[in-house]
Symmetry: C2
Subunit: 578 residues, 2 copies
C-alpha cells in the first residue's frame, strides 16, 4: 500500500495513528540532529520530522540525502506539534517518521515549485508538467473542474441533455479559417474541425431533443493574439420552443448559479441593454457597468461657436469624471497623450474643470463663454470638483476613443474592482454589417441568426437597419457568451444567405443539409455559447486564459513541450496524397 | 409563450386546466366531425381532440389540414378521456383544443417516424435528424447522457478531477494511423489528433493531479470495420500512488455503480482471470463468462493411438456440451461445416456422445476403445446425455476455433442471455508480442505499460515471456476497458523503447518530453480507459455502437448527411502549402 492518507487530511484527532503517506519532498530543513521535510500532494502539505533516535540510522540518512521534488513514501506516527502553524490545515500535527522510501528521485527542477516562481514564461511552457505543480495553477485547474461540474449540475437539473457532436465535420468558408484534416480513405477530400457545433445543435432541435448542451472543444485557425488559443472550450447550448426571454432567463440563471456556488456572490437580476444604447452611452458593445460615467453627446451644443475642431467633427462626446477637477496640468497632459496614441487615434483632448467653488474653467475658454460652459456642465450633470473630458472627431473613432478613455478613468478612480461583478445582456445587435473590402454584407453573429420580427420588412430595402434577435452576456466589460434566436423557416434562411452574398448553389452546397432539414417540421429554437476558458479566467480573477488550460499553445500555435506541430513521415504524406 | 407544459406531463389532476402545448403532429385521425391529433415532443405524447363545436370553425379547419410532423402550438383545456390508454403516461387525459397554430409545416418525411420504420440504412443516415426523432434513438441518446452524468458523479465522488487535454497534438508512428492537421502558421508541419490522451494523462500525474478523468474524443484513421468509428469517445482515467488492486477496485466500482444506477443490476464482485488461463480455458482474452463450457486439453490422452489427425496436431481440445447427446447427424454436420468455414479454419470436428444410457459413441470409434473414450469423458466431467466436441490442429488456430465453437454452442443453448452481465478482469497480458512482418516486438498494450516486477529480469533474455501489469475489463465477451500500471522510471522506459525497436534518437524525438518528465519526480501511477460508445451499446442491449452516437460516420468514414469529407477551396489549399 502506497498511502493510508493523503497529505492534506491529518488533524489533531489523528495523533498516535500509524500512517503511510506518499508525495513530493516540497521543502527540506536540515538542522543537523533534526530534519523536517514538508511532503506535498494535490490535497495539501504535511510536516515530517526525522530524528536518528526514533527514525533509526538508515531512515535518518535517507532523509538527509533526500532532494527537493523526490517522490517519497513514509511510514510513521502522527504527533502533535510543539509550535503549531495556523496557516496550514495540517498545522497542528507532524509525522514522526520511522521509515522512508524513495519512490523516485528528481533532478533539480529548472525553476522553483513555489507560488511565485523564478521561471520565465518560455521555460515554464516547456516544462508545463512542473509548472502545473505550482499551487496557483493547481487551483486554476481545480476551479475549471468545479465550473464544469456545476455547469452540468445546473443544466441537468433543467432537463438539458449532454449530446456529443462530431469533431470531423465539413469546411465552410464563412467566418474564421478552419483547420482541415486530409482524408486517407477519400483522397483529395478533407474534413474540417468545428469552429462551433452550430449546425449540429440546430439539427438536434430538428430531431426534437428540445434542450441540448455540451462542453466542447472548438477550433479556429487564426493568427493568434495574446489571449487566443487555436483550440478552446465552449459551453454550447440550444433550446426549442423558446423566445429570447426564455433563453436569457435560463442562462442568466446558469451564470447566477455559478457565481453563487463557486464564488458565493449574488449577481442579482441581470439588466438588459440595447446594442444601440450600449454604443451611445459606453461606446462599446461590451460595456463595463461597474461604474457609470456615461457618454453625453454635446455636438449640437458646442458646434457653431467658432471652434473649428468641434465644428468639423461628426460628433463631440463628453464624460463627467467625479472629483477630478484638481487634476494637474501634468495629469491632463498624460490623458491627452493617451488619447493621441495611434491605437486610440484622437487629435486632442478638451476639458472643463468644475472647480470646487462652482466656477468653470476649460481648455477652450477662447471659444466658449461661461454661459456656454454652464450648458455643457448641466448636460453632463456635473457638480463642483468634477472634471469633464471631451473628445471630437469621426463618429466611430470618437465613440471607441471615448470608451478607452472612460475605462482608463475607471481604472484611475479604482472603479473597476475585480471583486465586483456587473453582468449585462446586450441585445438587438444589427443583423449584418457592410464590409468595404469584400463589398458585401457580413453576418454580425452568424448566418443562422433570426432578424427581429418587426424589422423583417426592411430586409430587402435596408438590411443594415435590421436588428438581429441576438444577445451577448457581458460581465465587467468582457464578453463571456453570446447567442441568438435562430431562423427556423427555410424561405427566410435562403433570403439571409442571399443577402450575405451566397449564390443558391453555394448555399445548397454548404448548408443544403440544414435547408433540407427545415422542410421537415423545424421548431422555433435559440441558444447560446459561452467561452469556457474565458469564464474560468473571470472566476479566477485573472485576465489571461492560458493558465486555466492544462496544456495551452503559445502565440504561434505551438505546444513547445511536445514540440508540435512537427514534420511527419514521407510515407504518411504519401498515403494522404499530399 | 410557446408552451405551459411539455407533451409528457399532463395527468388526471390537471383536468380543467388551461394549457398551451407545442410539438410535432405525430398521428392524425380524422373521423369527420371529430379529429384527434397526437402531439409529440421529447417528453411524451398527448392526445388532442378537435370538434367544430368547441374548437370553432377556423381551428377545426386547420386541424383538418394539419399534416404529419407539422410543428404546432395549441391552446386548450385538459379533459378526462372516455376511453383511457393505460400504455401512455398521459393516457388518462386529452386536450380539448380551442386554438391551433402551425409553427412550421412539414413535407412528408422520407420514412415513417415510428419505432419500426420503413427507412433503409442509407436513407436514415442521410436524414439522420429525422431518424433521431424515432423513439429507440431518442432512448439511446438519453441513455448515453445518463451514463455520462453517472460516470462523472462516481468519479467526482472519488475526488477525480476532470481535466481537458489537447486535441491538436503530435503524430507518433506507434499504433494505429493518426489523423493529421496541416499547420498554416508552421508550413510543412502537422498536428495530429490523439488516438488517446495517454502521454498527457501521465504528465498530469507528474504534475501531481493525483486522480484524473475525461470523457474525451479520440481518433483513429483505420480502415473501418462494421462497428468502428474514426472518432470515438473514451472514459479516460489515471491515478497516482496506486497498485493494480487500487485501480481494479476503483474502476470495477465505477462499472458496478453504473449497472446499479442505470440498469438496477447487481454485478457482484468482479472475478480476476490470468491472461494465460483465459486463453487456456476459453481460447480468448475476452471470455464470455455467462456460461462455463471450459476447454480441456486432451492432447496427451488422445495422441499415440494411431489417429493420424490427432497425432499430427499441436493440440487437441475438447468442450463438454450439456444435454446435447441427442444431436442428430444433421446437427453435427452443421457444426462441422461451421468449424470448416475459412474464418474458423479447422479441418474437421470430432464428437463423443455421452448417451442417456451412459454408453459412449464417437466419430472416431475406429481408433479409440470405449476405455479410451471413458478417459476423455472423465477428463471433461461429462455426464450421460452430454456431447463432447473436439478440435485439433495448430495451437493458435485451434484455441481460436474452439472459442468460436464454444460461443456458438452457448448461443444454441441460450446461455448468452443479454439480460445477464458477467464481468471479469483479465490480467497479466504479455508485455510484447513478436511481429513476423516487421521482424520486431510490438507492445501488446502500449509502450508505457509496466512489466510485472517479478519478470523484469527476463526483459533482456526473453522479452516475450515478460508479463505486463495490464488489465482488461471484459463483460459478456466484450472488452469494455483496459489499462495498466505505467512505467515511472526513466531507465526502464528507455529499455522498453529499445526492446520495441526504437533507436535512442527516435525515442527522444517522439517521447523526449515524457522521458524528460521522468527526471523530475514521477510518482508510481496507473490508469484505464473505457470505450464509451461500446459501453453505451452494452447498456442499451445492442451490438452496434452506431445508434448510440448522434451523428456517426458510415463504414467509409463519411458523414453522408453533411457530405463530409469534401473538397476544399484552392485558396485554402494554397494557404496550407498543400
Amino acid at each position: 500500500m502506497l498511502r493510508t492518507h493523503n497529505c492534506g487530511e491529518l488533524r489533531k484527532t489523528d495523533v498516535k495513528s500509524s500512517v503511510i503517506l506518499s508525495g513530493w519532498a516540497h521543502k527540506i530543513r536540515d538542522k543537523g540532529k533534526v530534519i523536517w521535510i514538508d511532503i506535498r500532494d494535490r490535497y495539501g502539505i504535511t510536516q515530517l520530522i526525522f530524528e536518528e533516535e526514533f527514525s533509526g540510522k538508515n531512515t535518518f540518512e535517507l532523509a538527509k540525502k533526500c532532494g527537493r521534488e523526490y517522490v517519497i513514501k513514509i511510514q510513521g506516527e502522527v504527533s502533535e506539534r510543539l509550535s503549531k502553524n495556523p496557516n496550514m490545515d495540517t498545522g497542528d500535527i507532524e509525522i514522526k517518521v520511522f521509515e522512508i522510501k524513495y519512490l523516485n528521485k528528481s533532478d533539480i527542477p529548472p525553476f522553483t515549485i513555489e507560488d511565485e516562481t523564478d521561471g520565465g514564461e518560455d521555460l515554464r511552457m516547456k516544462y508545463r508538467y512542473l509548472d502545473l505543480r505550482r499551487s496557483p495553477l493547481q487551483k486554476n485547474i481545480k476551479l475549471r473542474h468545479s465550473l464544469m461540474q456545476e455547469t452540468r449540475n445546473y443544466l441537468n437539473s433543467k432537463k438539458f441533455l449532454e449530446i456529443e457532436t462530431p469533431v470531423l465535420i465539413k469546411s465552410t468558408p464563412e467566418g474564421a479559417r478552419d483547420f482541415v484534416v486530409p482524408s486517407r480513405m477519400n483522397l483529395g477530400e478533407f474534413y474540417a474541425l468545428p469552429q462551433s457545433p452550430q449546425t449540429f445543435k440546430q439539427l438536434l432541435m430538428v430531431s426534437g431533443f428540445d434542450k441540448y448542451y455540451q462542453l466542447v472543444k472548438c477550433f479556429r485557425d487564426e493568427d493568434l493574439r495574446a489571449d487566443r488559443q487555436p483550440e478552446f472550450t465552449q459551453i454550447d447550448c440550444e433550446m426549442s420552443f423558446v423566445d429570447r426571454e426564455d433563453v436569457l432567463e435560463n442562462f442568466g440563471g446558469l451564470i447566477t448559479y455559478l457565481f453563487k456556488k463557486i464564488l458565493e456572490k449574488d449577481l442579482g437580476e441581470i439588466p438588459i441593454i440595447e446594442y444601440n444604447d450600449s454604443i451611445k452611452y459606453y461606446g462599446s458593445d461590451k460595456p463595463d457597468l461597474r461604474f457609470g460615467m456615461k457618454f453625453h453627446d454635446i455636438t449640437s451644443i458646442v458646434q457653431g461657436k467658432g471652434f473649428k475642431v468641434f465644428d468639423d467633427s461628426q460628433v463631440v462626446l463628453s464624460i463627467n469624471v467625479k472629483g477630478c477637477s484638481n487634476y494637474s496640468r501634468k495629469q491632463i497632459d498624460e490623458l491627452t497623450e493617451f488619447v493621441k496614441t495611434p491605437q486610440i487615434g484622437s487629435k486632442g483632448l478638451v476639458y472643463i474643470k468644475n472647480n470646487e467653488d462652482g466656477t468653470l474653467k476649460s481648455s477652450v475658454d477662447k471659444f466658449y463663454s461661461s454661459e456656454d460652459l454652464k450648458v455643457i456642465s448641466n448636460e453632463n450633470n456635473s457638480n463642483p470638483s468634477d472634471l469633464i473630458l471631451i473628445l471630437a472627431g469621426e463618429k466611430k473613432q470618437t465613440f471607441s476613443a471615448m470608451s478607452s478613455l472612460r475605462l482608463l478613468m475607471g481604472d484611475k478612480l479604482n472603479l473597476r474592482d475585480p471583486e465586483i461583478f456587473n453582468p449585462v445582456w446586450v441585445v438587438n445587435f444589427p443583423l449584418v454589417s457592410w464590409d468595404e473590402e469584400s463589398k458585401r454584407y457580413h453576418a454580425m453573429h452568424h448566418p443562422f441568426t433570426s432578424p427581429i420580427e418587426d424589422d423583417i420588412d426592411l430586409i430587402n430595402s435596408s438590411p443594415e437597419k435590421v436588428r438581429a434577435n441576438a444577445y451577448d452576456l457581458v460581465i465587467n466589460g468582457v464578453e463571456i457568451g453570446g447567442g441568438s434566436i435562430r431562423i427556423h423557416d427555410r424561405v427566410l434562411q435562403e433570403k439571409v444567405f442571399e443577402i450575405l452574398g451566397f449564390t443558391k448553389e453555394e448555399a445548397n452546397n454548404q448548408f443544403g443539409f440544414l435547408l433540407n432539414a427545415f422542410k421537415y417540421g423545424t421548431p422555433p429554437h435559440g441558444g447560446i455559447a459561452f467561452g469556457f476558458d474565458r469564464l474560468c479566467a473571470l472566476f479566477g480573477g485573472k485576465e489571461s486564459i492560458r493558465d486555466f488550460i492544462a496544456f495551452p499553445k503559445n502565440t504561434s500555435g505551438r505546444d513547445v513541450m511536445i514540440n508540435s506541430p512537427s514534420q511527419i513521415d514521407n510515407d504518411q504524406l504519401k498515403e494522404l496524397g499530399l
